[in-house]
């Protein structure tokens, strides 16, 4: 990056735009978090105000935690997200490796077929998926959600990862073959570490939609013991009365784990996004 040649004006303008965007993007989150610490009356009287000593209240959190099932929902969401991500990454990487590395008849066609899923939203098939889950007895299980999310995430994962895997030096893989490494070892020991930034990118892109999804939990797993966090939070939203304190508190807490996962992946992610640009 050549900073010396850049003039001050455009730099300030660019930062101004970015700061403005950050403020706009973070504003809803800020409102949710601040209001979750306020009493119900204060939320409605002054939605944008910060909690003061008068309006400060943890009643929302108390309600959510007393509800008891909240930790179960939390756990369900965590299991679904982490297992789905793991499956997406491992199967996506394997398929991508096969597509990138081996010449076989129908390779290009197979790649296209796998990429088709990016263009066709999986929700179109909801009815068929539900029928399938009913007939296999998977309704109201976390497995159902994990399977659906894995299917939903794989196309993009295969697409991104195969592009990155094509960039891994052939010589390196061939050196491994000459040294007697099996194809599995070449995949796990040589190729996977080199596409780690791409894996992190795929993980982040998939993590947030899965964590936030309401559609499939509502349809495939609405039972109490398998509710996810997003679905669980809906109990506080009634037809006539909504417990805003509880909703906002639940949402605030739901942000935390995603944030932790994001921080874990973000260092890799930044490298992943820029790796194409600077190399």
């Amino acid at each position: 990056m050549n900073t010396a040649r850049r003039t001050l004006g455009p730099t300030i303008a660019a930062h101004g735009v970015m700061i403005l965007y950050t403020l706009i993007a973070l504003f809803p989150v800020f409102v949710i978090v601040t209001n979750s610490f306020k009493s119900r009356r204060a939320i409605f009287r002054d939605p944008l105000g910060l909690p003061t000593s008068e309006t400060f209240s943890l009643v929302g959190y108390e309600t959510v935690l007393k509800q008891g099932d909240f930790f179960l929902y939390f756990q369900n969401s965590m299991i679904v997200t982490v297992v789905s991500l793991a499956l997406i990454l491992i199967f996506g990487a394997m398929a991508a490796f096969a597509l990138a590395e081996y010449r076989f008849p129908g390779n290009a066609l197979m790649g296209l077929y796998l990429a088709l899923g990016i263009m066709i939203p999986i929700r179109i098939g909801t009815v068929a998926i539900l029928e399938m889950m009913v007939s296999t007895g998977l309704v109201n299980t976390l497995t159902a959600l994990i399977l659906v999310y894995t299917a939903q995430g794989l196309p993009l994962a295969v697409f991104i990862l195969s592009a990155f895997m094509k960039g891994v030096s052939d010589d390196l893989k061939n050196a491994g073959r000459i040294d007697g490494l099996s194809e599995y070892k070449i995949f796990f020991r040589l190729v996977l570490p080199l596409v780690r930034p791409a894996m992190a990118t795929v993980a982040v892109f998939n993590m947030i939609p899965i964590w936030n999804d309401l559609w499939f939990p509502l349809i495939l797993a609405p039972a109490e013991e398998v509710k996810t966090l997003t679905l669980g939070s809906q109990v506080f939203i009634g037809q006539f009365v909504t417990d805003w304190n509880a909703v906002l508190s639940a949402l605030s807490m739901a942000i935390l784990p995603v944030m932790v996962l994001y921080v874990v992946f973000s260092r890799q992610l930044i490298r992943g996004i820029t790796s194409g640009a600077v190399k």
Binding site: S169, D171, L172, N174, A175, G176, R177, I178, D179, G180, L181, R189, L190, P193, L194
Partner: protein, 336 residues
Amino acid sequence: MTALSLENVNKSFGTVHVLKDIDLTVEEGEFVVFVGPSGCGKSTLLRVIAGLEDATSGTVRIGGDVVNSVPPAKRGIAMVFQSYALYPHLTVKDNMGLGLRQEGADKSVVEAQVAKASAMLDLDSYLTRRPAELSGGQRQRVAIGRAIVRDPKLFLFDEPLSNLDAALRMNTRVEIANLHRTLSASMIYVTHDQIEAMTLADKIVVLRDGRVEQVGSPMELYNNPANRFVASFLGSPAMNFLDRSVPGLAPGRTIGIRPEYLSLSEDGQIAGTVTHVERLGGDTNLLVRTDQDETLTVRLFGQDPTEVGAQVRLGFDPARAFHFNAAQERVTADAA
């Protein structure tokens, strides 16, 4: 005993026929260089020998055994790649030892082999480093070390010097030549650089469009090229080809004269104007445009005062000139 023999080896990728009926033998302890312009199939041929590509037809024998369906690791070969291809997450020591460990060799054997190779290549002080912490030349030495450790029947080099700068290239070239003497191992070396080919090879194989054009020792090929392609590919500056400037040449014939066999002389057959002078200190290269509008290079030994724009006459010894027919094959001068 032959280290390698190829019989009628063909390779096609889909409809593209890359290697065409390659027949070749490499004797035990011989240093063979495959040379040719890019896209001539030399790297593919090396990959077929290594087992990284399957031959479409034909037989590959290494040390007398047919290895067509033997995986690369079991062929008794080691390969050095242009891009070094070191394992980025392993130390130099582990990089070098990996092949042997995969074969299930004893830990002490691996240690001993790695120590031997690293001593040979002056790598002792780098053994615990990772490839990212090494310079290009050091990486290539590690890659060569990795090959030595396996004690292979046949070494394969795939343009190992292409990524190095000029000075290092020279040093590493000498190192590889010394290595060949010390190990007296059979080696195959692929390059597009005719200087590497000339300086390293016991035997040069010139390839073009997937075919072997000529096989022979460097001086044989230099002094007795079979056709115009071989004549033009070996030698630097390249051979001059003239079909108009030399009087008395039959139509369709071309005459080839190496730059060093041309000399400035008052009664030379070729007349022209000097268009450019390269003074290298030891040599002087003149680019001359003949009156018949052909460009040729003259290599004069030592320093020469000739300036750009000078009118010169060039002479040569007819015995030193090569004659080629319209099909670019070598013919004798009498057949003209």
